[in-house]
């Protein structure tokens, strides 16, 4: 299988026009084969992008991108449930399921499985594939040996595996909104304060060390995952899809770097140096892959 | 979420508390008694060591902050040791647990929850937190309590000793 790049869903709350223009740029310029789209983090944000949704999807499709609709990762309230139902119950859309409620609505139709649904082992993979899963994006904390074991099983199941290779790492979800909490508000009365931070709100230790990134109910790493140096190893293990998670700046040049390495037009070393020059400033990490603390960088 | 009490120890003689009740005692005079206690407990509860795992090989400094002595415990299954040292002497250790004598007694008598003591900062730990968690969990699995066992080592005097423990534990 020819390996290719995918673009994960925008996880942050960007101004609607910014969001639209970003996807126009993806359609026009970005060397990604598949684009995941849809609100994964907070059901309150979803309506903000509704008016541009159709326009963005048709532009992406016209540009030859495969468009996959990602479902909400944490589903509790009535609004959450309605959002998942609207996306996942539709026969026309191809879905990336991010929780069990999406699987319920899918009822065995072919679909993708997102990184928020825990798929840590061969048996989970087999069960999901027997019930319609065609591709699975692995949890970000899986180390190399477990990824290889999964790839072994996936090959026999005709299932493609995807691994996030760039961007901040989604680490946790909560029922509580930590953006609202920082602004003395609650989730219900949040006034969408998360839109002040297009790349999330950095959380530092009291000693001043940047540690995590707050994105509403989601907690992400502060460091930026970068597996450009492991791409060839991952391909050899049988991984065929490589996910870039969008940031507000530098995503296009990042995708170009990764594409160049996939096409063997650039070495991993060159790419690492180039990626370090992009405008998005966060230290790189790849610890999870090496079975080390996730924030570490093993060169 | 971990089961550990932990926070640094406070050294030196804090509240006078129980120290006032006890006559000054030379450390060497305590040694035969301590050796007897640790050998007796170890003999009675071999399963403690299996539960402690690697922590058997650590050195635990037990620091009753209101007494003039500290105790060094080496729970080696083959050669368990408990030694008293004068407070102020440098004693090498992997982990130190400190609190008032009564707090420590209540803990080894399973009368109170050590996590709660830690939350209230009555108990503190420095050093190898994992070792103290293993020791705490192993002790907590004994059907009798460590305090009962210590009292039992006094043979014919076990009941008066147990009564002294009960008296001490009731003190506010």
């Amino acid at each position: 299988m020819q390996p290719f790049l995918t673009l994960g869903p925008v996880l942050l709350n960007w101004p609607a026009e910014h969001w639209r223009d970003f996807y126009f740029q993806v359609a026009d310029e970005m060397p990604v084969e598949t684009v995941f789209i849809g609100e994964v983090v907070c059901s309150k944000r979803a309506p903000l992008f509704d008016r541009h949704f159709e326009e963005v999807v048709s532009r992406l499709k016209a540009a030859g991108k495969r468009v996959v609709f990602s479902t909400l990762a944490e589903v509790t309230s009535k609004i959450d449930r309605r959002l998942v139902k609207r996306v996942a119950a539709s026969d026309e859309l191809y879905i990336e399921a991010n929780d069990a409620s999406a699987l319920w609505h899918l009822g065995g139709r072919p679909h993708a499985v997102g990184p928020y649904l825990n798929v840590y082992n061969e048996e989970s993979l087999e069960f999901l594939c027997a019930n319609g899963a065609r591709s699975v994006c692995l949890p970000p904390e899986l180390p190399a040996n477990a990824i290889a074991a999964m790839a072994n099983t996936a090959a026999g199941l005709g299932c493609e595996l995807e691994v996030q290779v760039y961007g901040r790492i989604p680490l946790a979800l909560s029922a509580r909104c930590y953006h609202a909490r920082a602004h003395n508000k609650t989730k219900d009365s949040c006034l969408f304060v998360c839109d002040q931070d297009p790349d999330g709100m950095v959380l530092c230790t009291q000693e001043g060390r940047p540690f995590l990134t707050i994105n509403g109910v989601q907690t992400q790493s502060y460091s930026c995952l970068n597996l450009v140096g492991q791409l060839q190893e991952l391909i050899a293990a049988g991984i065929s899809r490589f996910r870039i998670s969008p940031q507000s700046i530098g995503t296009g040049s990042t995708a170009e770097c990764f594409q160049a390495v996939l096409q063997k037009k650039m070495s991993a070393e060159e790419a690492t140096a180039k990626l370090a020059e992009t405008e998005f400033e966060a230290p790189f990490s790849n610890g999870f892959y090496h079975q080390k603390p996730g924030h570490r960088w093993c060169s | 979420m971990p089961p550990h009490p932990g926070s640094p120890s406070r050294t030196g003689l804090g509240s006078p508390g129980l120290a006032r009740l006890l006559p000054p005692l030379p450390v060497f005079a305590l040694q035969p008694l301590l050796g007897h206690i640790v050998a007796s407990v170890a003999g009675r509860h071999p399963e403690l060591f299996a539960r402690m795992g690697e922590a058997c090989h650590k050195h635990f400094l037990i620091d009753p902050t209101d007494l003039p002595v500290v105790l060094l415990l080496k729970p080696d299954p083959h050669r368990p040791e408990l030694r008293a040292h004068n407070r102020g002497n440098t004693v090498g250790h992997d982990v130190r647990i400190s609190g008032s004598f009564v707090t420590l007694l209540r803990m080894i008598d399973a009368k109170t929850d050590s996590d709660a003591l830690f939350f209230n900062r009555e108990l503190s730990v420095t050093g190898d937190v994992e070792a103290i968690v293993a020791l705490r969990n192993a002790l907590d699995d004994m059907d009798s309590t460590l305090a009962d066992d210590v009292a039992a080592t006094f043979g014919p005097f076990s009941r008066p000793v147990r009564a002294i423990f009960d008296f001490a534990e009731r003190r506010p």
Binding site: T76, R81, V84, D99, A100, S101, W104, Y116, N118, Y120, N121, E122, E123, S124, F127, P140, E141, A149, M150, I169, P170, L171, A172, S174, A175, R176, C177, Y178, A182, K187, M201, L203, C204, T205, Q206, G208, I214, T219, Q291, P293, H295 | M1, P2, P3, R10, R51, G53, D113, D115, A116, F119, R121, V129, E130, V133, A134, R136, N137, D140, D141
Partner: protein, 334 residues
């Protein structure tokens, strides 16, 4: 309150002595785990060998109590045989239910031991009707342990729409992150909550105190809290620490060190149709188990008999000496 079915009191046991303590204090069921990474409380000195769990089952059954085996972490590719063996062992010693979270573990349990009662662990994070019914249909789960993020009103509504029993937490530590979906420990220490069953492993916790008795708690390389002299503290977990963000400094960015205490909501939970009430704390001591289980035994019995129990003395056992009704009381918690 009378006329309603009396809920089952489900209590924690970290050790065999803890199990006997919980049973003697009035637990209807005790949950416990085997040593190793197969359960979400894989701490040093804690948990059961297979032989110890078998003895625990005999002890509990003799006194009319059940034993539920928590095998609720996520089996990792390449070493799933550890979890399969745990499931096989638990079934063979006659536990009353297996508590599991993973889809693969569920598939294995349903396929290999179809007669074994299966409870869906809180670690599965099934917080909606559709998610719960997905697990009911897929694996025939008999009970769901609900995530600690629903209000009592939402639980009541859920009850009427799902195909299995409900178990709800009523007391103990309250993690802030969605269960089964938190990689914070893994990010900081390299040991994983999901794969290794550890949250804030003790081996990575370090305490340091300055001359003014200000206490800094460190997990791995990161300072997760700084407590001044005289202040109470909580578990050294990332989600109970204090941090700085642009709008606020030195604050509990996720949650304060508090414990869940739903004593006052017990009648509402019973009316909402909850089958089992769960007490957290397999990592806590026998003293905690004895105190909390006895208190809740009395409270549940009293409410069931239509009386008003005295429930004032549990506060000392809570984290930081503070308690909360968490999400259960009101949506403003979110």
């Amino acid at each position: 309150m009378t006329g309603l079915q009396k809920p089952e009191l489900v209590c924690p046991a970290g050790t065999p002595a803890g199990l006997r303590t919980a049973v003697d204090a009035g637990a209807d069921a005790v949950y416990c785990g085997l040593k190793g990474p197969t359960n979400a409380r894989n701490f040093p000195g804690l948990n059961f060998t297979v032989a110890e769990m078998a003895e625990g089952v005999a002890y509990a059954h003799d006194k009319g109590a059940k034993v539920l085996a928590a095998i609720n972490s996520f089996p990792t590719a390449g070493r799933t045989d550890i979890w399969k063996a745990a499931i096989d062992d638990a079934v063979s010693i006659g536990v009353d239910a297996v508590i599991a979270a993973d889809i693969g573990a569920g598939a294995y349990l349903a396929r290999t031991h179809p007669a074994q009662r299966f409870h869906l662990s809180v670690q599965a994070g099934a917080s909606s009707v559709e998610a719960i019914n997905y697990y009911c249909r897929s694996f025939g789960i008999k009970r769901v342990v609900l995530p600690r993020i629903l209000t009592v009103a939402e639980i009541a509504e859920l009850h009427s729409e799902i195909e299995c029993e409900i178990e709800a937490f009523i007391f103990g530590n309250i993690g802030m992150m969605a269960e089964g979906r938190c990689l914070l420990t893994s990010y900081v220490t390299g040991q994983s909550t999901n794969m290794d069953g550890v949250c804030s492993p003790a081996s990575h916790v370090h305490y340091a105190e300055d001359a003014d008795q200000n206490l800094t708690t460190r997990l791995g390389e990161f300072a997760i809290d700084c407590v001044s002299c005289g202040q109470t503290t909580g578990y050294p977990t990332i989600c109970k620490g204090r941090y700085d963000t642009a709008p606020k400094k030195g604050y509990y960015a996720f949650e304060e060190p508090v414990s869940l205490n739903l004593t006052k909501l017990l009648p509402d939970l019973m009316r909402a149709g909850v089958t089992a009430l769960k007490i957290e704390g397999r990592q806590r001591s026998r003293a905690y188990v004895r105190a909390v289980v006895s208190a809740f035994r009395q409270a549940v019995d009293a409410y069931h008999a239509g009386a008003d129990p005295d429930i004032s003395d549990l506060l000392a056992l809570t984290e930081g000496g503070k308690e909360t009704q968490g999400a259960f009381g009101s949506k403003t918690w979110r």
